[in-house]
Structures are given as C-alpha cells and as structure tokens.
C-alpha cells in the first residue's frame, strides 16, 4: 500500500494527518433496541416513547432480535469476526437526553470484532490505488433523545422519540491519512450498509453520523494527541471537519501549543470546529455489565441464517461486472456504488438481453453505457432519479433493442429518450410516430452519396489528393441530407467505396 501524499505544509515542515472514524449507523428496524416503540422518523414529540424509553421506575430492557441480526450481517459484510459471546454494558452519565442515566452499549465484549473495508483508487482525490482500512469493532447501543434549545427563553425541551433507537457504532482503526480517504471510507461504508439493508444511510435524517478523530504528526513520528469532533452528518462535512481540525492542530503545535484531548463540535455554516464546553468535564463513564441483561450467545444456525441472507456485496459485484460482463472499471464502479443502481441495472440488463435475443454479456457494455451516459444524463437534466424515472427498465430495454437491431442510430436514440421522458411513451411508439426509423437501404443511401459527392467535387478532389480528414465532412453531409436516419455503418461503407 502506498502512503498517502496528503500533507499539510507548515512553517516547520510537512505534517501528516491521522484519522479514525466512529460511525453511528441507525439499525433498520421497526421497533427500538429494547422496547416496542416505533422508530419512524418525524413523529410528534414523545409519541414514540415507551415507559422503558422514558426510564420509568422498574422498567426493563429486552433486546430486539432484528437489531442483533442486522449488526451480525453488517459484520459479515466487512469480513469481521463475529463474537458468539457478547454482552451489554452500561455507560453512565447524566444528561437530559439520556433518561436512564446510562446508555446501554457494548464496551468490553462487542458483538462484532476486527474487520476491514477497501476503497478504490481515485486519482483525482489523490488516492493512487486501492486501500484497505481496518475496522476495529462494531457494537450495538441505544441512541439518545433530542434536546431543543430554541423553543422557550429559559427552558430546553426534551423529546425522547429517538431515545432507545438501535445504533451500530462502527469504529475504524486510525488508518486514514487524508480527508479524501475518510470521505471514500464513509461512502463505501454507507454503500455496504445499504446493500446489506442494515441502515438506510440517510445522513440528513441522522441515521448515519460520524465522530471524527483527528491528530497530526510529522511524517514518521509517533501518533499525536487526537481530538474527537462529534456527530458530523455528511460526507462533505466530515472532510471539511478533518481539514479544518488538521490545520488548526498544526497551527497550535507550530506556535508552541499543545493539543488537548477533547470533544469538539462541527459548525457546518463556517466549516470549522469548536470545543464543546458542556461535555468537557472529565468523563468517568463507570462502564459495567448491564445486570438487567444476560450475556448474548449466538447460535450457529442463527449465524448461518445471517450469512445466507447477505446479498452480493459491492466489491464482488464490481469484479463480476468487469470480469463476466466486460464492463470498464469506471462503469462497473459507477453501477455498483449504490445497491439501488446495481439492482436497477441488473433488471434492465436482463430485459435488454431478452429483447434482443442475446446473452447478458453480449449486451452489457451497450446497456451500461446507455444507462450511465444517456439515462443518468437525461434524468439529471430534469432533476429526476432512477427511483422515479418514467423510463422503466422495460422501456429502456425496448429502446436499446431498437438500437441493437439497427432500427435507429445512437444519436436518434438520444432524441427518442428525450421524447420518452417528456411523454412517457415507448421508444417503439415514438420511432413509429416520428418516422425516425434508420435508413439502411443501400440504394437510397447511394443516391444521396452521389448527390453529395457531385455537389462537392472540389472537396472530393482534395480528399483524393490526401486530405483524408474530409471524410468526416462527407459523412456529416450525407447524414444531414438523410435527416440523421442513415445507418452510419452503411453510409461509411458506401462513402469509402465511392471515394476510393
């Protein structure tokens, strides 16, 4: 693995940045980790709160099997060790968003141990080759409630709807060396979570957020003191927070100061971090095993079930697209980055192959190119996404078949696609109605070519004298004369023969 070249140029030399991420990912489940209250986003305040979530006297937690299953599946997806014996601990501290006075988490025996995650090379981002980052652990824990500070002059308001929602805390090793690497790690992690279905990855709604640990050091030095910037909720903000924090630390160190190990907050409006005073008093969380919960023991059958339910994951899929379908590395990466895209593509590919009576690998390149350059572009223009695309896979396959069989040309196909998006009609209907069928009749094309050559005798002479670049001119003129409907292959062939 090559070292990152990301450096901060200080007055005293080059600094390297060391980054670790603790990602809190909301587990996709109907009900909370230890109670039957719903987890849906956006409910009325305290409407999704059970007596357990409100920590009424005598209330007890009972764990949700689905949350355990999703954590295990996530661990499997990053090739992590699954701990068949784990248990829940209490993390004790007082805060108004924490009704029990402790968070049920897993410190000593997390459910998932060591794993790893690989990001692809991205030269533009300074990531010169594929890199693998360590994941130290994944543990399951409760989310806290929410405090609102701007509703009343002297009071804060507490909403416990999120209190007790299941989170996976996914803790990376301090293996990242640039904001871009951290961004790529986060995107890749989100992609895997979505493939697995264990978290919707929706950062705006808070279902995924990162605590960003940053330190700086002179290249080759020991690890420096780190700060932790809490709850950063977008990939871009994470990258900004790292950059700001790294520069800030270099400034502090170069002006003779020391980095204090502290919790910081990210301000998205300024892109800066600041010390979080309210949480500054030295915490002593007094972790100990939760006596309300027994050790969690996972049976082999349960683990097998989890494994069997895993989908093909992005790395495997990407390799298959390249190896079996013959897609370019770029196209394969684009199509597999999001589970939704890959799923859409695979349905389209099956239909496109069927419509042309060919194998999937025969039409894969054409299909991938069309999806990426034509459909994505067209949808982008009208601000739509695949999910709500009026061009279904069925309709897309029809259009691709028209191209594949030579009924229309690629350039006509672009026009047809635009009309499809406008009208919702099928490609076949549009081509029929607009008379866009491609002319492949040799006689008709020959006649047009003859006309063009006759009208441009001077250019024909120049061409024959060696100005071969004029060939494109003749193609263009012919196509223009045929209103774009000439089969370009046939046009090329006839022109070549006639021009000699």
């Amino acid at each position: 693995m090559t070292e990152s070249t990301y450096r901060i140029q200080g007055a005293t030399g080059d600094w390297e940045v060391v980054i670790g991420l603790e990602v809190h990912a909301q587990v996709t489940s109907n009900s909370k980790l230890f109670s039957g209250a719903a987890t849906a986003f956006g409910a009325e305040p305290n409407a999704q709160v059970s007596l357990i979530d409100a920590a009424m006297p005598g209330m007890l937690p009972v764990p949700n099997a689905e949350c355990i299953r999703q954590a295990v599946r996530t661990g499997m997806a990053i090739d992590a060790q699954i701990n068949k014996w784990s248990r829940f601990d209490r993390k004790n501290y007082f805060y108004a968003d924490l009704p029990q006075g402790y968070q049920i988490s897993q410190l000593y025996h997390p459910i998932v141990g060591e794993g790893s995650l690989t990001i692809e090379a991205d030269e533009k981002a300074g990531i010169l080759e594929e890199k693998t980052f360590g994941v130290e652990r994944i543990h399951v824990e409760q989310d806290a409630g929410k405090l609102m500070h701007d509703q009343h002059p002297t009071m804060s308001y507490v909403d416990l709807n999120r209190s007790g929602v299941a989170l996976m805390e996914i803790v990376s090793r301090p293996d990242m060396r640039s904001p871009a690497e951290a961004g790529a790690y986060l995107r890749k992690l989100r992609s895997i979570l979505r493939y697995v279905g264990s978290c919707d990855g929706n950062m705006e709604e808070g279902s995924m957020r990162a605590d960003v640990n940053v330190s700086v050091r002179k290249v080759g030095d020991e690890l420096g003191t780190r700060t932790e910037t809490k709850n950063v909720n977008s990939v871009r903000f994470v990258m900004q927070a790292i950059e700001h924090e790294a520069y800030r630390q270099v400034d502090v160190l170069e002006s003779g100061g020391k980095i204090v190990q502290e919790t910081r907050l990210f301000d998205p409006t300024t892109g800066t971090t600041r010390s979080m005073r309210s949480k500054e008093d030295a915490h002593d969380y007094r972790y100990f095993p939760d006596p309300d919960l027994l050790p969690l023991i996972l049976e082999d059958a349960f683990l097998e079930d989890c494994r069997a339910s895993l989908p093909e994951l992005p790395d495997a899929k990407r390799k298959r697209y390249i190896g079996d379908l013959g897609l370019s590395a770029y196209n394969a990466a684009v199509l597999t980055a999001e589970a939704e895209t890959a799923r859409w593509f695979e349905v389209l590919l099956a239909k496109a192959a069927a419509a042309q009576g060919k194998s999937e690998s025969d039409v894969a390149k054409q299909t991938a190119n069309w999806l990426i350059s034509d459909l994505f572009g067209a949808l982008n223009k009208v601000g739509q996404s695949l999910e709500d695309s009026p061009v279904t896979q069925e309709k897309g396959a029809d259009l691709l078949a028209l191209v594949g069989k030579g009924t229309i040309s690629g350039s006509i196909a672009k026009q047809v696609l635009e009309l499809m998006l406008e009208t919702g009609d099928t490609a076949t209907a549009i081509v029929e109605r607009e008379g866009l069928k491609q002319e492949s009749d040799t006689g008709a094309i020959e006649a047009k070519v003859d006309e063009i050559l006759a009208a441009n005798a001077d250019k024909v002479e120049q061409y024959r004298a060696g100005k071969v670049a004029l060939f494109g001119f003749f193609v263009g003129q012919t196509m223009k004369a045929m209103a774009g409907k000439g089969n370009p292959q046939v046009v090329n062939e006839i022109l070549k023969t006639k021009l000699g």
Partner: protein, 494 residues
C-alpha cells in the same frame, strides 16, 4: 365467629369459596385493622381500602356467578411500595418519588390481582429497599408490633420489607409481597415471627419493581405460614417476556406437593455460619432446627462453604454498584421530585434534586457504588467482587452435590431496638450475614419462625435450596414449622 383477621391465605380463600364468609367481610375486617394500626406501626405509606373492597366485591360476584375465584380469591394483601401499582402512588419510600403515580402495573402485582387478591395498601419499607431495620424510609420508621416484655422500646421489624413483616405479624394483612436483595424478605420475617420465601432469581418478574440491585433483586412472598407462602408464590411467579432475566419455566404446583416428610433427604449445616460472637440463643435454635429435621427423617451433614466470610463485602460492592446506576434515572426530569434552585442549570438541578430526594443511606450506597465503578478502581473492586461471587456460588454448588438443602439461622440476632444500629452502617450491614450468600448465588431461600428468645422475641431459621428447588425449601420449612408449633403473636398494644 372467629376474627377473620386471624386467618391466613388458605383459610380465607377456602372460607370465601365455601361461603363461610364473604370476601367483602374479610376486606372490611383487614381495612379496619390497617386503619387502627397506622399511627402506631406506620406499616403503610398509602392505604387503599377502596381497592381491597373493589377486589372483594369482584370475588363475591364471581362466586355468585359460579366462576373460578383464583388461587388468591378473596384474599386482601399488602403490596410493598417497591411494586408499581397503576394509579396508586409508588415511592420506594423515597422523597424523590413522592407523588409518583405509575401508569402501569408491575407484572407480579398484576398476577396477584389476576389470581383474585385485593390490595389493602402500599407497605412501607427501607428507602429503595436499602436497609435492614426500616429506619431509612422517608415516610418514617415502621414499628414492629413486638415488644420486649416490660419495655416500651420500639423494635425494628427488620428490613427492607419491614412494612410487610410488621403488617402480617400485627394481623393487618394475611400476606404481603416482599422483595429480597440481600435478605430483605427473610430477615424481617425472622424478626417478626412470620414466614417469607425468596424464590430462585428469575422466578418472579422484576418488571415494574423499582430496582435496587438488578442481579440480586427478587420478589417473594411473606405470610404467616409455609403453606400460605407457597400459595402466594405460585400466584406471583412465572415467566415474563418483559424481563430478560425471567426464567422461561412453568410454575410448579408447590402447594400440592408440600410435605413435611424429609425421609431420604440430606440437610447440610454450613460450618462457616457459626460466626464469632453469635448469641447462644441463635446457636440453640439452630441446634433445635437440626433436631427437628432429623426427626422429620432427614440425614444431617456438616458442609463447608469456604467463601462465606466474603459474601457481605462482595455484596456491599455489587449491590451499591448496581444501585448507583439504577438510581441515576431519578433526576427530576420526567417524574418525581424536582429541585430547581434559582438560576440553576441542568446539572445543578440534578445535584440539588438528588440531594433533596435521597436519604442518607441511599446516598451512602450511591457514593460507594460510584466509587467502586470509577476509573482505576473498577477491576480492584467490582471485577474482584464478581469473581468472588463466582466462588461463593461454586461453594453452594459443591455443597449441593452432597446435600439437598442447607439449614442456617436467618439472622445473627433477634429484633433490635430502633436507633440501636443506625449510626454504624457496618454493624447494620452485619444483619444480613446469613442471608446475603444465597442472594449472591440466586438461590431459593426461606425463613420460618422457630421459637422465641429469652426476651420473648421471635427467631427464625433459614432453609437454602438448589436453584429452582423451591419445593425442597418449602418442604424443609414445613418440617420445621410443624415441629416448632410457633403460635406466639405480638400483644396488641396499638
């Protein structure tokens, strides 16, 4: 007609079922006793005569309709104020929960109501069940109905289920719920001449019971005799999906299998329970117990539980540690007391509320628990204690390879006077020296009255059984009960 309040659970249930008297008559009689004793004994924090009558009416109506009355049909009981009761103030005897009215019913109390029992009121206890004399309640001491002859000194009913023990001994209720964390059912039972059983950890649901120390807390039954305890325990016990530590097992018919015949059984006498300075009377009652069990057909064998002397210090690390965390929820935000000094921020509010709301013993234990869990001390105290706990449980396991049950005194003394131990926490903690080991190991254990000391105060004997062997415990207790013929009851002075 006999005084209905002299009857126990079985007699009341059967009398109501046969129509010898109505459930309402029973409830009225006990309601009257509760009211008459309240000023003197302070056994109840809240009396609920209307609830008792309501349940009794329902039972009487069922009887009229020929329906099944349930295992506790027509029996009014006292409910330790550690069990959440829907719509009825539940305080754990703490100022911090004063005025708290649960919108839910604890699983155990619900089962009792479902079995036909009615509620006479919420019984006083040591604050958050922390104490052995009932002197830590915010709502005042419970006074034992027992007196030393010729003395007016107020005696301790034991704790923490002191309201329960006092009320049963004084005939304010035929039975009551208790909870036992380190002896809180057994020691007060011994102090007041009644019976009390703590089942195997996990038999009775903890859901809706205000938590003290989760790995130790266990609800149980208190009544005047072994049979009544068995009936009540059958009604309280059973799997509860809301409690992750609840045992998913059917409730045995303990009452039906009660037998005082111990032929073929071996009773262990743990050598280490002969502690230095134990009063001769305690030793004597223990010897008497051994003789009774032999008489019942049992073989008696001395056994060793080598880690016994470490049980109390182990308990006084684990229980406060768990309590310090369990009691963190009392913060003035969602229910209970809120003390908000002028200009106070959130954290100041917490500190003020908890300072005003918790009593001194509760604070002491929270402080100890916080300390032993804090950074740098966790392994030396808490982890070490949990390891010693493993050894204590292993001692029992090994003993139970040779014997079926263990016989010990319940407490190292008879009831002491209120105020006697209150300034010395360690002396107070020593009260639980015989009861704590079984709690640490989660074992079923029971106290039965065995006799009176020279001052005429009750003494109890403790039977400890194998995990899940409540039957063995009840049977051995019954063998003692049938030989002890304990009929003493406190003179009514209130």
């Amino acid at each position: 007609m006999t005084d209905l309040t002299d009857l126990g659970v079985a007699a009341i249930r059967d009398g109501v079922a046969t129509g010898a008297f109505s459930a309402v008559e029973v409830a009225e009689a006990f309601n009257a006793n509760v009211a008459a004793a309240q000023d003197a004994l302070n056994a109840f924090i809240v009396a609920t005569p209307e609830k008792a009558i309501e349940a009794a009416q329902a039972t009487d109506a069922k009887r009229a309709a020929g329906e099944d009355l349930g295992k506790m049909g027509g029996v009014p009981i006292g409910m330790k104020d550690l069990f959440a009761t829907f719509g009825v103030q539940t305080t754990a005897a703490s100022h911090i929960l004063e005025g708290f009215v649960p919108q839910y019913e604890s699983s155990v109390s619900q089962k009792l109501w479902d079995a036909g029992a009615g509620m006479l009121g919420k019984l006083n206890l040591d604050q958050f069940a922390m104490g052995s004399s009932n002197e830590t309640s915010y709502f005042g001491n419970v006074i034992s109905p027992w007196k030393r002859p010729g003395s007016n000194a107020q005696l301790a009913p034991g704790g923490s289920s002191g309201g329960s023990s006092a009320a049963i001994a004084a005939r304010l209720c035929p039975a009551a719920t208790g909870t036992d964390t380190g002896g809180s059912i057994r020691q007060p039972a011994a102090f007041t001449g009644i019976s009390g059983i703590k089942p195997t950890y996990g038999r009775c649901s903890r859901w809706g019971v205000v938590a003290f120390a989760s790995s130790l807390d266990q609800p149980g039954a208190m009544a005047r005799d072994v049979t009544d305890c068995a009936i009540m325990l059958e009604s309280m016990a059973g799997f509860d999906p809301k409690d992750a530590t609840s045992l998913d097992l059917a409730v045995p018919e303990w009452t039906a299998a009660l037998s005082a015949d111990l032929k073929g059984k071996t009773v262990g006498i743990p050598r280490e329970y002969r502690v230095d300075g134990m009063p001769a009377e305690i030793d004597a009652v223990w010897e008497q117990g051994i003789a009774w069990l032999k008489d019942a057909g049992a073989t008696v064998l001395e056994v060793s539980l080598p880690h016994t002397k470490y049980a109390l210090p182990t308990y006084y690390i684990i229980a406060p540690a768990e309590a310090s965390s369990n009691l963190a929820r009392y913060d003035g935000v969602r229910y209970g007391l809120r003390d908000l000094p002028e200009g106070a921020g959130l954290q100041d509010m917490y500190a003020a509320t908890r300072a005003a709301g918790f009593g001194p013993e509760v604070k002491r234990r929270i402080m100890i628990g916080t300390y032993v869990l804090s950074a740098g001390f966790y392994d030396a105290y808490y982890t070490q204690a949990q390891k010693v706990r493993t050894l204590i449980a292993r001692d029992f396991e090994q003993a139970f390879e040779q014997v079926d049950v263990l016989l010990t005194p319940t407490a190292p003394s008879a009831a002491f006077a209120l105020g006697e131990n209150v300034d010395d926490p360690l002396a107070m903690y020593l009260n639980d020296v015989f009861t704590v080991p079984a709690s640490l190991a989660g074992l079923p254990a029971m106290s039965v009255p065995a006799g009176l000391d020279a001052q005429g105060l009750p003494l109890g004997l403790q039977i400890i059984g194998r995990p899940l062997d409540e039957q063995g415990v009840l049977n051995a207790a019954l063998a003692i009960e049938s030989r002890a013929q304990f009929t003493a009851k406190p003179e009514r002075w209130w």
